[in-house]
């Protein structure tokens, strides 16, 4: 039993659209207002403790991490946004941000995975199309393949 190429393509498009819609819904879902301690923790995990060999500020036990957590809590309590609080920490403890900046050379960390994903997807799509085209063009020069024979037998069964 064969499916028309148009129908096959439509199902891929529907699946892609569905996946995209779910992704957008998940990313933009309103989780309600986060508590101040949740915000403090979410900021703390994006900041590196300067003396703890890679631990983040939210989890590190070092005194400086404790001091930085105090700063985060105080700045949040004063009404600053998360980005403003990160700015305060960056000013006091430079080079401790774990989230790469969105500008300059380091922004490539954000851009390159997307580029690789797009190129990879395009390459796969092209490869699939070529394989399918090769299969269609071959037009069974050496007789029907085993799959076609099996399909035919299944259809012929009462």
């Amino acid at each position: 039993m064969s499916t028309s190429p148009l129908k096959r393509r439509s199902s891929w498009i529907v699946m892609a659209a569905l996946a995209f819609a779910l992704l957008v819904a998940g990313a933009t879902r309103d989780r309600g207002p986060a508590s101040q301690s949740e915000r403090a923790r979410s900021i703390g995990v994006t900041i590196k403790c300067p003396v703890c060999g890679g631990e983040n500020v939210a989890d590190a036990k070092a005194s400086v991490a404790q001091a930085m957590r105090e700063v985060i809590a105080r700045e949040l309590a004063s009404g600053k946004t998360d980005d403003e609080v990160r700015g305060v920490i960056e000013k006091q403890y430079p080079d401790t941000q774990l989230v790469p900046p969105k500008s300059g050379l380091a922004s490539l960390v954000w851009v390159l995975p997307v580029v690789v994903f797009v190129i990879g997807g395009a390459a796969l799509a092209r490869a699939f199309r070529r394989w399918r085209a090769d299969g269609d063009l071959a037009d069974f020069p050496d007789g029907p393949t085993d799959d076609v024979v099996v399909d035919a037998e299944v259809v012929a069964e009462p």
Partner: protein
């Protein structure tokens, strides 16, 4: 064209170009990560605060008095950040006591005021620290709300900062100091306009 049959066009080979492109992208990512700051404490005392107005230091001292750096304008001030459990701080403490005692024998114009800021520690531990290691007969600020040390970007102790009579940061020392060494630094800074 042979035998009237068109030769099938050769498929263009894309894979090598895609592979090359991906290799370039991965190489670029390696470069980006290699250049990323490590976030570890630098071995240098460089600070953005150098030659700028020192962040405020004020509050209640360990003995219940008040201290304000801004009220010390006109004097050289040495600000020492320490913690009772820090080994180098314990080694340094008698030297700070010597430094502070020596100020009394200097002409007024050459004296330096010493102030200690506690780096995340309890008042009880700090009192024991001074009882065991001497000193503490100068202003000691508990900084229990972590307002002072983050403003100076202190990540490890001991650290000693020298503030000039205009309230400007002139030196940051990220090792333990000696009485003679600290006096030498202040004298050098005094001689440098």
């Amino acid at each position: 064209m042979t035998d009237g049959v068109a030769e099938a066009p050769r498929p263009r080979r894309v894979a090598p170009f895609v592979t090359l492109g991906l290799a370039v992208l991965i190489a670029a990512m390696v470069v980006v990560f290699a250049r990323a700051p490590k976030g570890e404490r630098p071995d240098t005392a460089a600070t953005e605060l150098m030659n700028k107005l020192a962040p405020p230091i004020e509050g209640e001292t360990l003995d219940g008095g008040r201290f304000s750096l801004s009220a010390r304008r006109g004097s050289w001030v040495a600000v020492n950040f320490f913690q009772s459990t820090c080994g180098p701080c314990i080694t340094e403490q008698p030297e700070l006591a010597l430094f502070n005692d020596a100020q009394g024998s200097l002409p007024l114009a050459r004296r330096t005021e010493l102030v200690s800021v506690v780096f995340v520690d309890s008042a009880e531990n700090v009192r024991k620290f001074f009882a065991n290691n001497g000193g503490g007969n100068w202003p000691v600020l508990p900084d229990s709300r972590a307002e002072i040390s983050p403003a100076y970007g202190v990540a490890k102790v001991p650290e000693t900062w020298i503030i000039d009579p205009d309230g400007v940061v002139r030196e940051r020392i990220i090792a333990n100091v000696t009485a003679v060494g600290l006096q030498g630094v202040v004298d050098r800074l005094r001689a440098t306009p």
